[in-house]
Amino acid sequence: MSPLAASLLKVAACLGLMLANGVVMIWMLRKVLGHLHLRYGPLEAGPSGIFQTTMDVLKLLTKEDVTPNAADRALFYVAPLAVFVPSLAAYAALPFAPELRAVRLDAGLLYTFAALSLVPIGILMAGWASANKWSLIGGMRAAAQQIAYEVPLLLSVLPIVMLVGSADLGRIVEAQSGVWAGFLPRWFIFDPLLLPTFVVFAVAALIETNQTPFDMSEAESELVAGWATEYSAMKFGLLFLSEFSNQFIISALAVTLFFGGWLLPWVPESVSVALAPVTFLLKTYVGIFMLMWIRGTYPRVRIDTLMQLGWKRLIPISLALVVVMGVVIKALPALARVVG
């Protein structure tokens, strides 16, 4: 197979996964929120309404695509793509199993964050091009949020990279194999040094994916629908899809970095490897469920509180954690050598 064909096939596979995820997650969101709110969610289309999202996609495809007269047409058309493409690209480096991923990148972690950090540029484009004041405020909020939270998000994963000695997502997972004290999986979440890191990561990740309680740029009760107000039909579908895809990616990253990725503890390695993709997806969906749980219960914080949290708390904390990790893995062994 020619390299081009192979690449195209990989992109198609990622796209297929993304679409399938979108369909499943939207249905899941409705069900989870429904049951959290004393109602049932979709029931009519198929058993437990599992075809509801499919029907909605069909509906979106056949709806009229409205472009506001005052919109900046070129930007207005490009913006959904600028949101969608990075979100798709972020799938490339995710390790679903030891050898199952689109590309093996030495800087896979960095690559995934780089792809995700392109999303707010698309949001800003959408907000500006819509010629709608609510969209503009939403886009501006997304940009401000982006600057404030990209830094702690990246810093928060730095201790892991330092510990593992690699930013390759596969090697990070492999470093978590085995158990401590006979029963506790050697996942980084159980490492007392990395637990605070996870807290910083979780908060920054919620903000990065525009999740409640930090859904500033959408903020339904304040900004109508924020930056997506003027989008309709399949353009809206693309925006919606990439939003869910980002949730999947951030959840998959959390699983890879802190919850042992595809690894299944307490079973022989052959079983673990055989079940790897299933394990990975299951863990990721547990993470997504947590995101939805938070979404269904929490109020939204205010934008100024959010910015203060980012600049005044998370950045210093994550910097301090990097220093602590550096001392533990470099300075202490050096000291031990000198003393010993």
Binding site: H37, L38, L136, P213, V224, Y298, R300, V301
Partner: protein
């Protein structure tokens, strides 16, 4: 200023009052806003009438400096049905139906205000049972109304969790009110001279069961879902402060006034129905911020539950309707009657000329006054706080536009 985007400023489309905030009397000061040095532009946004958080058809014209509100102007009238004019062509016993459509979430109390005014004109004595039934249904309706406020107030903060829990309880209340009056929202239950029907058999047990569950399970649950949330508290504490002086100057009444520290409750200070015989407390706030308004309303629900139990226990026997002529023709005169509705003092100013139709019917809704206080309170707050503050004052467009 040749850029077409500025046309709206040049054409004066936004109105004069927007850019020159009104001068206020001594003692009232506008919160400072604006940018130093740098020349920036303000963004004028229309919040409503089709905005998710303006509770019906309120339209706030908000001028923003970044995210900060510089001026806010309420534009109303989208629900104007001319109730006051229509009333001049209705008979006295039909006034209640109009009041129902004013404050449509707390209909019983509106009906009661109209009935009290008519009774004052007629000088009829209402039988004790009718008074107790009026208090009972008023308090049931008060909880239902506060629950709607509670659910939507949470939605304003972005929390979805509590809304349908509040609706679940309201549903039970509406079932009870339906069993009593035959209607779920437009009750038409309180009429001049009494109430239209006695309690249906077996409803006591149902009400008792609801009140027990509400006090012991539902209300703590609501408090935990929303009020106990730290993010929610950080959103409401110190936000939208209405001082005592401002509250009095802007004619606020009800929970909004009490949250600002004025202990005035029509039920206590100008008692009507069976309230003199009921034992209840009037919660009063201190700071006058959104959090105090939240606490006052939550406590009012607790007190209302207490009163409902007392009403069921102490319900006297006897007729539920006084002898009132079929065609009410009160002597000429002018009266004012007020009740403590869920939002404040709902008053009816009634002028009779001796005919079967009121000569002038004035519906004094508390929300109108709360709304004009908002124009004063909002500047200096962030855009996100605007929806919170509107939500915390519990304005009801039906009675603002009438």
């Amino acid at each position: 200023m040749s850029d077409p985007r500025y046309e709206i400023y040049e054409a004066g489309l936004i109105g004069e009052g927007m850019h020159t905030p009104p001068v206020l009397p001594a003692g009232l000061r506008r919160a400072p806003g604006g940018v130093d040095g740098l020349r920036t532009e303000h963004l004028v946004v229309n919040m409503g009438p089709q905005h998710p958080s303006t509770h019906g058809v309120l339209r706030m014209i908000v001028e923003l400096d970044g995210e900060e509100v510089v001026t806010a102007e309420a534009s109303i009238g989208y629900l104007h049905r001319g109730i006051e004019k229509v009333a001049e062509h209705r008979r006295y016993d039909a006034l209640g139906t109009l009041m129902d459509r004013g404050d449509y979430v707390a209909g019983i109390m509106g009906e009661l205000a109209a009935a009290l005014a008519t009774e004052q004109l007629l000088e009829v004595e209402v039988p004790p049972k009718a008074n107790w039934l009026r208090s009972l249904t008023s308090e049931l309706n008060r909880i239902a109304s506060h629950l709607v406020w509670f659910g939507t107030f949470g939605l304003d903060t972005g929390a979805m969790g509590q809304f349908l829990y509040a609706m679940r309880d309201r549903e039970a209340l509406l079932d009870i009110l339906e069993a009593i009056s035959g209607q779920r929202m437009m009750f038409n239950y309180v009429r001049p001279g009494g109430v239209v029907r006695d309690l249906p058999p077996g409803i006591d047990a149902k009400i008792r069961e609801f009140v027990d569950t509400f006090e012991n399970v539902y209300l703590p649950e609501h408090d935990a879902l929303l009020g106990g949330n730290e993010i929610f508290q950080s959103r409401v504490k110190g936000i939208g402060v209405i001082t005592r002086e401002q509250a009095l100057a802007f004619g606020l009444t009800g929970p909004n006034l009490r949250a600002s520290g004025v202990k005035y409750d029509v039920r206590v200070d100008r008692p009507y129905a069976a309230y003199p015989e009921l034992d209840f407390e009037v919660p009063v706030g201190e700071a006058g911020d959104a959090w105090d308004r939240y606490l006052v309303r939550m406590e009012e629900m607790r007190q209302a539950a207490r009163m409902i139990r007392q009403c069921i226990d102490g319900m006297p026997e006897g007729p539920h309707m006084a002898k009132v002529p079929k065609l009410i023709k009160p002597p000429a005169g002018e009266v004012y009657a007020a009740v403590e509705s869920a939002r404040g003092e709902t008053g009816v100013h009634l002028v009779s000329d001796g005919s079967e139709h009121p000569y002038r019917f004035r519906y004094r809704g508390p929300s109108l006054f709360a709304l004009q206080a908002l124009e004063e309170i909002l500047p200096g707050h962030l855009l996100a706080d605007v929806v919170m503050i509107i939500g915390s004052t519990d304005v009801m467009m039906g009675e603002i536009d009438r």
